[in-house]
Symmetry: C2
Subunit: 256 residues, 2 copies
DNA sequence: CGCGAGCTTGATGCCGATCAATGCATGTGG
DNA sequence: CCACATGCATTGATCGGCATCAAGCTCGCG
């Protein structure tokens, strides 16, 4: 498993199969969003040996699956992923969507195997970060150590937010929160704040939000009627941002 | 903030106010459940300087609250905690219950402040672990480093399980899963596998499970009628363990 | 004893699930 | 180029699980 597609069996700097960018954090345009956030230039240079290789993941294929042996974590370079867990009886739950600069595979550290699936929702590329190497380097560079700890902690905090959403919000609030979160992350990556293309199906959104796909679809339609969004299949344009925001904050919600 | 109750301003080994046990992992009876799991004896001796002090938290009081400056993580020595997050509009969600040997405060690492409340559900005692000290020591001892990473990862995996529960299970399944999880953790600490006393109210259980307290109460009653449990307020006895288990696995559930 | 916090139980209603049909876009083979 | 299949999205009708509202009940405690 974990066979490589293109860059296997050759070093990153091999002239035979040139990469568009060097496999190195120091020359990566995502360094302000990814693991090296906040590291000084000299430290970034020193962790260039972190990324062993890059790996292509075609749309629909898994980067790893539940039960795969854990060896590396992954940083999304381009593309879009979902992660999902499943129970014994086959129900499954999307636990997150990951875009450029975000890490995948942190679940695997606790055991020696992964405990969820990571599936590419479009043709994607990830940086492979051997975990033992990350641990070595983070013993040397405490900036890196601190940064890695922050990223794990941020994941925990994010999960708590999702629990709040799943445990106490109604369908409209959930979808609004989801859209606002997506646009915020897209904006941080230089995309428009008001217009986006969903990479996932209604069913995947529903699984993430604890709703059925029909409910997701209906809620999109309602948002459109209410003049909050323009929805054309997966093309979304946010027409009334404050309206969406106050939906999440519950100011127009009688309850509570 | 973070003022100490009893052991403040004196070292752990001070003869003036003797502790029942030394403030040291090496002599702690929880070392097989807590941070030092799996560390060799010599390494355990070397991390004894990790725990700065102990701290009492009376029932109903907070160990930390959202917004408190983050400096330390905490290990539960005795007692029982809940953690909860809340949204701007005042809704709140219990994100977990912690018992002896489990860590609190990992949420704080990502920022410089805590992002949830940790409240004692009974008179409790925690070990205070200054985070900078933990980072120092885990740079020195890679067993400790590895162990800490595993604990953070396990928290992420646990959170994913809660998402699955909140996103796709019905009331009975949620409560059954909750009880099985509790008894399993209690059993690992030497308590009975079949009989437990709930430390939390119906409302807190409901908040954790995304249900209203009435639904929790009704579901307890139903389990009792069905011969799965004996329920006397917070005294629970599990009568039919396999029955509970197959509720969670969904084998008696028509759907899916 | 009486008070109050927490728990139980009943009656009712609503939100979202479910079931079902249709629409729309893309791709494929005749 | 059209006919058809396929995957995904929309929309409607109906149903059911859980929330809500409203009493009582239990137990510990001042």
């Amino acid at each position: 498993m974990l066979t490589d597609t293109a860059t296997s069996a050759m070093t990153a700097t091999s002239p035979i199969k040139p990469e568009p960018f060097k496999v190195a954090c120091s020359s990566c345009n995502l360094r302000e969003l990814c693991l090296p956030v906040g590291l000084s230039q000299e430290n970034i240079d020193q962790i260039d040996s972190l990324v062993g290789q890059r790996k292509q993941v075609p749309r629909g294929e898994a980067l790893f699956r539940t039960g795969d042996v854990f060896q590396s974590i992954f940083a999304v370079r381009t593309g879009f992923f979902k992660t999902c867990v499943s129970s014994e009886d086959g129900r499954d739950q999307v636990t997150g969507f990951q875009m450029a600069g975000e890490l995948l595979g942190l679940d695997g550290i606790s055991g020696d195997r992964h405990s969820c699936d990571a599936v590419a929702l479009e043709d994607s590329q990830v940086c492979v970060i051997p975990f033992s190497r990350l641990e070595e380097l983070s013993r040397e560079f405490n900036e890196l150590q601190r940064q890695f700890h922050k990223i794990m902690s941020r994941e925990i905090v994010r999960d708590h937010g999702v629990m709040l959403l799943l445990g106490s919000m109604r369908a409209e609030e959930r979808l609004a929160a989801f859209l606002l979160n997506l646009t915020q992350r897209l904006q941080a990556r230089g995309f428009s704040a008001s217009s986006l293309v969903l990479r996932m199906t209604r069913e995947e959104i529903g699984s993430y939000l604890g709703l059925k796909l029909e409910t997701v679809s209906r809620t999109f339609s309602k948002f459109q009627e209410d003049g909050l969004l323009e929805v054309k299949q997966r093309q979304i344009r946010i027409v009334n941002l404050p309206g969406l925001q106050q939906l999440v904050n519950g100011t127009n919600c009688a309850a509570n």
